[in-house]
């Protein structure tokens, strides 16, 4: 059961009905705003935060069904629960309203106890849904941060720890540990990058050339060059001999 006062929007083209419903909502301890048609309802819903809509079905210009349809198509409004309150008590209308996204239905001559029960049920559902949406959004944020760390593109300041890090659940623990580890990685990478901006290869070419000449200018080296060439030729000749000696079964003989 929700204890925090909710913001309820009452939508009805009759002033008496608006008044009655607003007072009933206020008696439940919630704040009520009332508008007289569907167009005003949608405008206000987009402007101010509301937790619940009590919606008349039959209204001129934009009826309750059209309001439900518009809310369903709007990502910002589709999760606001709607209880349709109408004098039209035909089953088809009720079914249509629920199919269009209404949470519940009450007749115009409603019992205040039933109103309380249904309002509270809807508000509790919304509260849980809001928690779920918030949780998923924070998981997505942490996942994005992890991807950024992997791509070496993470900015420690980008993680909203004011919200994520203060959670008392496992997600909060994960967020705090992640943020600490990411900061360490980030600091280490930044430190390394500062030290190593460019790989510099410094060679004293003149000295290198002198060293090469010292080695290649020796008699041993000249002799080695000749012998190396002969050795490679000998190996090649060995190979040719072995290939010639391979019998028809393909196996080399070992000399």
């Amino acid at each position: 059961m929700t204890t925090k006062p909710a913001h309820v929007l009452v939508v009805d083209d009759h002033p008496t009905n608006r008044l009655k419903m607003s007072m009933a909502v206020q008696n439940l301890g919630h704040a009520a705003r009332a508008v007289e048609d569907g167009r005003q309802a949608l405008a206000l819903l987009r402007l101010e935060r509301h937790d619940l809509v009590l919606l008349d079905l039959l209204m001129p210009e934009l009826d309750g069904y059209q309001v439900l349809q518009a809310m369903k198509q709007d990502a910002e409004l589709r999760n606001i629960p709607v209880i349709v309150i109408s004098s039209v008590d035909e089953m088809d209308s009720v079914v249509k309203a629920i199919e269009l996204g209404a949470e519940d239905y009450l007749p115009k001559t409603f019992d205040p106890v039933l109103l309380r029960a249904r309002v509270n049920a809807c508000l509790e559902k919304k509260r849980l849904r809001d928690l779920e949406v918030e949780y998923l959004a924070q998981v997505a944020e942490l996942t994005r941060a992890a991807a950024a760390v992997e791509a070496e593109d993470f900015d420690p300041g980008s993680l909203d720890l004011a919200t994520l890090g203060t959670r008392g659940d496992e997600l909060g623990v994960l967020a705090r540990v992640f943020e600490r580890m990411a900061r360490e990685i980030y600091a280490r990478q930044a430190h390394l990058k500062k030290r190593v901006i460019e790989l510099e290869v410094q060679i004293d070419e003149a000295r290198q050339e002198r060293q090469v000449r010292r080695i290649t200018g020796t008699t041993y080296f000249q002799d080695l060059r000749g012998r190396a060439g002969q050795f490679r030729e000998t190996l090649q000749s060995d190979e040719a001999d072995r290939s010639a000696a391979v019998p028809s079964n393909g196996r080399r003989s070992i000399g």
């Binding site: 090469v212 080695i215 290649t216 060059r225 012998r227 050795f231 190979e239 070992i254 000399g255």
Partner: protein, 251 residues
């Protein structure tokens, strides 16, 4: 035709032996018969990567050089067993880790020309497709010989000022020896550098063909030569880079 590939570096600590051992594994996985010879007689170590304990070394290169055995007798089959991916073989000719043997070599030296026939006989006896020579760092008569007779040479360096000039000298010397294929390998590259930029910088500096950059790997450091990296981390980017290097060296 059997190929001789030397893996050399101007300075020690570049990861040359590790690269040699892992290349051997990759060639063997490709179905080739691979010989690996540790000519770093002064500080042998590649046998560790193949899981060969010093006590398991029955005969070594030192025994061959002192005329105590034929070179093929010093070969140890170190092909990993129980791994279905290895279609070839790896034969290691280790250097002795016995202190007195090492001191003997340092004091007496050895006839390098023995290695000429030694390598030929080894290739013939073990029907090798590839002979990898893990050289001692630096340029001396022994390493010059290995470089000179190679069909391909991998010059391994680190992105360290102490390596730059010496690598340049090695590159020029190798060119003077007409080594058919010279490949620059920049090892232990910090990941904070852009690999493409590094490659370009070194290729321009040394005026060489495509360089191979191997990034520093914590996994490699943690493995600490207790095994072959390409077996432990088959899909690691460093394994992929080694595969690419193997392909370049073979031509």
């Amino acid at each position: 035709m059997s190929k001789i590939i030397s893996i050399h570096s101007f300075r020690g600590g570049t990861g040359k032996s590790n690269i040699t051992a892992n290349l051997a594994m990759l060639f063997a996985q490709d179905g080739q018969r691979v010989g690996v010879i540790d000519t770093d007689i002064q500080s042998p170590g590649i046998h560790v990567l193949f899981g060969l304990d010093g006590g398991d070394i029955k005969r070594s290169l030192n025994d061959f050089l002192w005329g105590r055995c034929a070179i093929a007798d010093a070969a140890h089959d170190v092909t990993p067993t129980g791994d279905g991916t290895v279609a070839g073989r790896i034969h290691l000719i280790p250097s002795s880790i016995q202190t007195d043997e090492i001191v003997n070599v340092l004091r007496e030296g050895y006839d390098i020309s023995l290695l000429t026939n030694g390598f030929r006989n080894l290739i013939e006896a073990l029907e090798l497709d590839v002979l990898l020579i893990d050289t001692h760092p630096g340029l001396n008569e022994e390493t010059l010989f290995s470089i000179a007779i190679s069909h391909a040479l991998a010059i391994v360096m680190r992105p360290d000022q102490q390596d730059y000039e010496g690598t340049g000298v090695t590159m020029e010397v190798a060119r003077s020896l007409h080594v058919p294929r010279i490949v620059l390998v920049v090892n232990k590259m910090p990941p904070s550098f852009d690999a493409a930029d590094v490659k370009k910088t070194f290729e321009e500096t040394y005026n060489c063909g495509p360089a191979h950059v191997l990034l520093h790997s914590d996994e490699m450091m943690t493995l600490a030569s207790r095994g072959l990296f390409v077996l432990e981390y088959r899909d690691h980017p460093v394994t992929e880079a080694l595969r690419s290097l193997a392909k370049t060296l073979q031509g």
